[in-house]
Symmetry: C2
Subunit: 249 residues, 2 copies
DNA sequence: CCGGTTTTATTTGTCAGACATTTAAAAGTC
DNA sequence: GACTTTTAAATGTCTGACAAATAAAACCGG
């Protein structure tokens, strides 16, 4: 575990990289204790604050956890699916919000990935996930629901669909795609009529899953994709028209 | 931008969270300069090293970048697709290696996601991506290739397939699924016969993409999935048998 | 007045040393 | 033997200082 003395990068970044590489390579295994900060400082020939900055970098990626007190220290963390979900969602959300990805592109990606889950969900349909989907459909039918609440329920519905595939790796990969869409969807105002259409498609989707017909579920997802894109387009067009009429409002 | 004085978590973690939330909420926009470390220390009523630890946490997530010198400081970073790829791959790789995810589950997720890309790739097939796929197939046919090199070429082939969909969001999401499989695939020893079978399926896949028949491409991916899983099973079974015969070797 | 050079102020990067706090093992006590 | 106290080790935090980089500002020669 060494650092390059010629590199001009931050020492804390170099040290973090050295430790991270050791973890990825398996030289440091889960729950293994790293040397104390003082020992690391000695080893890398830097001061303790510098070592601490490196450790905080790793902690930010959930690669290590720290514990105070005697026999405490920094331990290699088992990256849980939950932690990975969180990072995935944060990264995806920021990626979309900072790179003016078009609604169409994001939407296409999201539904393409969901269609990948549909056959598995249909095959392994569980009462639990189906119940969640039905419950969210019911919530979406409630009048007086705010647009935000409608979107949140939409996310929950799709999460249930994805989790229904029973593959945690798939759920992890999809988490970003589904959740990161929410801020984009939140820009849409859902009229009573569009909500009705979406609920209808959701019902069709749940029915297909329940019937175990993945093919129909996939097709329904395609319908939903097209409907969502059309909806977004009309909302954007409406907004553009208004700003043309009243450019300074 | 405030922190909770009652929380018992690390101050640097709280400060990092406060700033991160501001970025996600859009209160801090891309390329905006954060207050200097001294000002932040003053604002949060902590010392500069504590602020620095918080900033390093954010830097580890590529949320900020720092620049030394007058008029330098910490700036909100535009999360690039490249950065996001890297994080995605690191996280996915560690997730698989630390949670003894079965080969079958990882493989299923990977091919399910790839099948989501296949129709788009077939529809938008570009000469560039097709050429890459053909080149990798050719490389895979070379005798004397190490197993590692074969796996690396396999990843490159599938990356081309995924990128061929022409949707950067999809490419980003898939990066983890495809690349994280490599360490698992590397455990397999590819015989001449199995390589031949894989190259044959890759060729079929490239042909299907070139012909614009996404349906066939998807089916070929399913074939490839089953073949890969069978291959892994036989390798593992072989290994188990040997360790039974020579338990202490 | 212009172009190049030097100065200077600002900010991050790093270090040294100190103290506070937490924690669990070890020692002590009834 | 069970409970309490002590103690050592580790992280968390602070203070103060200096080094290095950097761009604006000041300066200067032509």
């Amino acid at each position: 575990m060494k650092i390059d003395p010629k590199s001009k990068a931050d020492l804390s970044a170099q040290i973090a990289k050295a430790i991270r590489d050791s973890i990825i390579a398996g030289d440091l295994i889960v729950d293994e204790r790293l040397p104390s900060e003082a020992e690391l400082a000695d080893h890398f020939d830097v001061s303790r604050p510098t070592v601490r900055e490196a450790l905080k970098r790793l902690a930010a990626q959930s690669l290590i956890r720290t514990q105070r007190g005697a026999f405490g220290g920094a331990f290699v963390n088992r990256l849980s699916f939950e932690d990975a979900y969180g990072q995935q969602i944060t990264t995806s959300t920021l990626l979309l919000s900072m790179n003016d990805v078009s609604f169409d592109v994001a939407c296409e990606a999201r539904y393409a990935l969901e269609r990948a889950c549909a056959p598995l969900s249909a095959e392994r349909r569980s009462a639990d996930h189906l119940a969640t989907m039905r419950a969210e459909i019911h919530r979406q039918s409630q009048p007086g629901l705010t647009d935000e609440a409608f979107c949140a329920s939409d996310v929950a519905f799709h999460r249930a669909l994805v989790d229904g595939a029973g593959n945690p790796v798939l759920s992890y990969q999809l988490a970003g795609a589904v959740e990161a869409m929410q801020p984009l969807m939140n820009m849409i105002t859902f009229t009573a009529r569009s909500r009705e259409a979406i609920v209808s498609l959701h019902t069709k989707l749940a029915d297909a899953i329940e019937a175990g017909t993945g093919e129909i579920a996939s097709e329904t997802l395609t319908e939903l994709e097209h409907y969502t894109i059309d909806l977004a387009r009309s909302v954007l067009a409406e907004r553009a028209k208004r700003s043309t009429k009243r450019p300074l409002s």
